[in-house]
């Protein structure tokens, strides 16, 4: 049944490998999950961060633009309220309109180009035109004075109707320049009606941010003005914006776009909501390359950390697997040894049991086989003794024969009882037994025996001493010990009996004078015979039987001492519970 050594080692190694594999799978799964979550978190954080940066930047730029628009509108309002302009329109002196306006707008038109660092505060007009009561452009007598425009661009300044409030618009000229338009209404001071409008074209604010590399442009009338982008990039961006705008995506929005081979984030926002001018959108293009590079770097860092974690996990798993499998290996070895031992013991036990059973069966059979002829013999002898026609010496011999036959019967009974005990068939029916009574009975019998030597009997027994047991077997124990004490005594010797109750047990000591039992002799062994031959020798069953019976009762018999003409046995039997039921 036992596995050979190499196979066992293989089994332990397999366990270690499996343990290692499971731990590695767990470590790898946890690491991967952790890395995935961390990476997602990092990416989301970075994107949110980026969006926030862009949004705040855009917000500040738009704030700047709003301020600029407000300043422009204020300035235009002042111009629109100029009495000469009013007078020219109201008093039907249109020929004087542009000449009058020229004086009023001189500072706006003739101021220098704004310095690049302060474009927002600088108000420099490129051109201006007045609209008539139907929103058409009033032609200037001398276009050079009011900023030249090609006729097509000039047409785009016209409005469907005169505006009631400021209108912001954008004009993309054919030359590729973009102008920011502000149209302000001119109210009649006499009627309060809107009688005209002044449209002024400014150089728009160039929004650009060197920190983020943002580029901004304007999309108006389906055309994109973002000169810092290449033509092809402008075209693709233009298409994308047209789609986004046509798709009705509302308000400020953004999308990603591949421009010039790099990813970009594009924000667009209507610059002139609810304007009479065509809708214009501000387009802000942020390059995502630095951000993606940063993200990639982060991802590499995370991947590196993950690899380190995995390696750490690998070694930790390996160590743990070895450490954990060590006791298992030991356990496997131990259990293997235990199993071998157990199997050996079981085999031995089985053979012993078999032998025991065989011997028990044999002795039982033998007892039965013996008992019947002995009974026949005894009955025959007794019937012979009953006759009266024999010689007297014949009676004497017959009596001796009968005596021997009775002894034989006793031996057979003992053997029979032993065999029953060996077979485990003997059951004790426990009752309260008066030990003192039994001792007394046997002492009486002992004195009545014909060949008993003259011995002095010393008895120290309480009158009633109850033990738990079956009376006939208790009696047998006492009988055996007393018979031995008489049998192995010397003439003129002494037998002493003492009994006491001690902690739930009754201890009976039976001592006798006589030759001591030599050291090393196992007198309790079955069929024991003394090494030193003696006239008084038994058949070697009595002590064995007595001890077996005592043990069956939960007690024991032992030899207390055997020296200097004194041999003493001690019987321990369980005391009967409570007081004696019957004396």
């Amino acid at each position: 049944m036992s596995l050979p050594g190499p196979m066992r080692n293989k089994g332990v190694a397999g366990f270690r490998v499996r343990l290692f594999a499971v731990m590695m799978v767990i470590v790898a799964t946890l690491t991967t999950l952790g890395l995935y979550l961390a990476q997602r978190r990092v990416a989301a954080d970075a994107e949110r961060n980026l969006q926030q940066i862009f949004q705040s930047e855009l917000a500040s730029l738009h704030k700047l633009e709003e301020l600029r628009h407000a300043a422009l509108a204020d300035r235009c309002d002042v111009l629109a309220a100029k009495p000469r302009i009013h007078a020219a329109i109201e008093d039907d002196a249109l020929d004087l309109l542009y000449p009058s306006a020229k004086d009023e707008l001189r500072d706006l038109m003739e101021s220098e180009e704004p310095p690049p660092e302060r474009p927002a505060q600088w108000l420099h007009a490129r051109f201006y035109r007045f609209l008539d009561s139907r929103g058409r452009v009033i032609q200037p007598p001398n276009p050079r004075d009011v900023g030249e425009l090609d006729p097509k661009s000039e047409e785009q300044l016209a409005l469907r109707s005169l505006p009631e409030t400021h209108q912001i618009g954008y004009l993309l000229e054919n030359g590729g320049t973009i102008d920011e338009l502000i149209a302000v209404p001119i109210f009649s001071t006499e009627t309060g009606d809107i009688i005209s409008a002044l449209v002024i074209g400014f150089k728009p604010l160039e929004l650009a941010d060197k920190r983020t590399g943002m580029k901004s442009g304007i999309w108006v009338n389906g055309r994109l003005h973002l000169p810092s982008l290449s033509q092809s990039a402008q075209a693709s961006l233009n298409r994308r914006i047209a789609n986004a705008v046509a798709g009705g995506e509302r308000g400020e929005n953004n999308f990603r776009l591949q421009l010039e081979g790099a990813p970009h984030l594009v924000f667009y926002k209507r610059l002139n909501p609810q304007s009479l001018f065509p809708p214009a959108y501000e387009i802000c293009v942020y390059p995502l390359a630095p951000w993606t590079a940063q993200l990639r770097r982060l991802q590499w860092q995370i991947a590196g950390a993950g690899t380190l974690l995995l390696l750490g996990g690998f070694f930790a798993s390996h160590l743990a697997a070895v450490r954990l499998s060590a006791p298992v290996k030991k356990l496997a070895l131990d259990s293997e040894e235990n199993r071998e031992k157990r199997e050996r013991a079981e085999a031995a036990l089985a053979s012993t049991a078999q032998e025991l059973e065989r011997s028990a069966r044999y002795s039982a059979d033998a007892s039965h086989q013996l008992k019947s002829p002995v009974t026949v013999l005894r009955v025959g002898l007794e019937s012979l003794l009953a006759r009266e026609d024999f010689q007297p010496e014949v009676y004497e011999q017959l009596s001796a024969l009968l005596q021997q036959t009775r002894r034989l019967t006793g031996v057979i009974d003992d053997l029979l009882l032993l065999s029953r005990m060996d077979a485990g068939h003997l059951k004790i029916e426990s009752a309260s037994v008066n030990l003192s009574e039994i001792v007394d009975e046997w002492l009486d019998d002992l004195s009545a025996l014909p060949d008993s030597p003259e011995v002095e009997i010393e008895k120290q027994l309480p009158p009633a001493l109850f033990v738990a047991g079956e009376k006939r077997y208790t009696s047998l124990i006492i009988q055996n010990l007393l018979e031995n004490a008489r049998k192995y005594n010397r003439p003129g010797g002494r037998i002493r009996l003492r009994a006491r109750a001690a902690g739930g047990e009754v201890v009976l000591c039976i001592g006798n004078t006589g030759r001591a039992i030599p050291c090393g002799e196992n007198i309790f062994e079955r069929f024991h015979h003394s090494a030193t031959p003696s006239a008084a020798s038994g058949h070697g069953i009595g002590l064995n039987l007595a001890r077996e019976l005592a043990r069956l009762h939960g007690g024991d018999i032992r030899l207390v001492c055997s020296e200097n003409d004194w041999t003493e046995f001690e019987v321990r039997l369980p005391a009967a519970n409570g007081a004696a039921p019957a004396a």
Binding site: A81, K82, R84, H86, A87, E90, T189
Partner: protein
Amino acid sequence: MRLAGLLWTSISLLPGMLLAATVIEGRVELPPSRSPPVQAKRYEIVTRGGVLSTQPPLAVVYLDGSFPRPASLPLKQVVQKNLTFIPALLPVQVGTKVEFPNLDDTYHNIFSYSPAKRFDLGRYRPDERPVPAVVFDKPGLVTLRCDIHEHMRGLILVLNTPYFAMTGTAGRFRLEGLPAGRYTLKAWIDSKTTREKPVQLRSNQTLHVDFP
């Protein structure tokens, strides 16, 4: 020489004496005043629906026709005082020179883009000498503006005739020394409203004409 001069004088006065006797008087039905008159002599030009008129409403009644221009005409004044034109409405005969003295402590820049007279006096202070003046040589309504004070408005009604008069706030008027003949009597009420009635004038007659 002296006699001849006296004779010329009497001849020239004769029509005047005769003319003085011919009178038109009456009343112009004025639009209701938008606010109770506080200062009888202070008028301002208001616009309502694109129509310039005085507040409280006043009318100019004149005898339309072609009359010989006199050799000299009296010098008139429109004063700028407290950022208003005084008077707010001034009827003058064609050819009259009007001075625009600045009685405020600030600059004024009186100009007009009206077809009847375009002029621009430029910025001037009260101590500007000579006092800026304009000769109005074309009949029509002239809107006076100030380039510095955009709310300021004044009206000068340039007429062909020397026979004109302004009504009071009640609308009453009286024209004296009129020549006999058939004429059209006109009442200018605001920049868009002028009423007219044909009149037959006889010497030494007082005609009563009401403009409803």
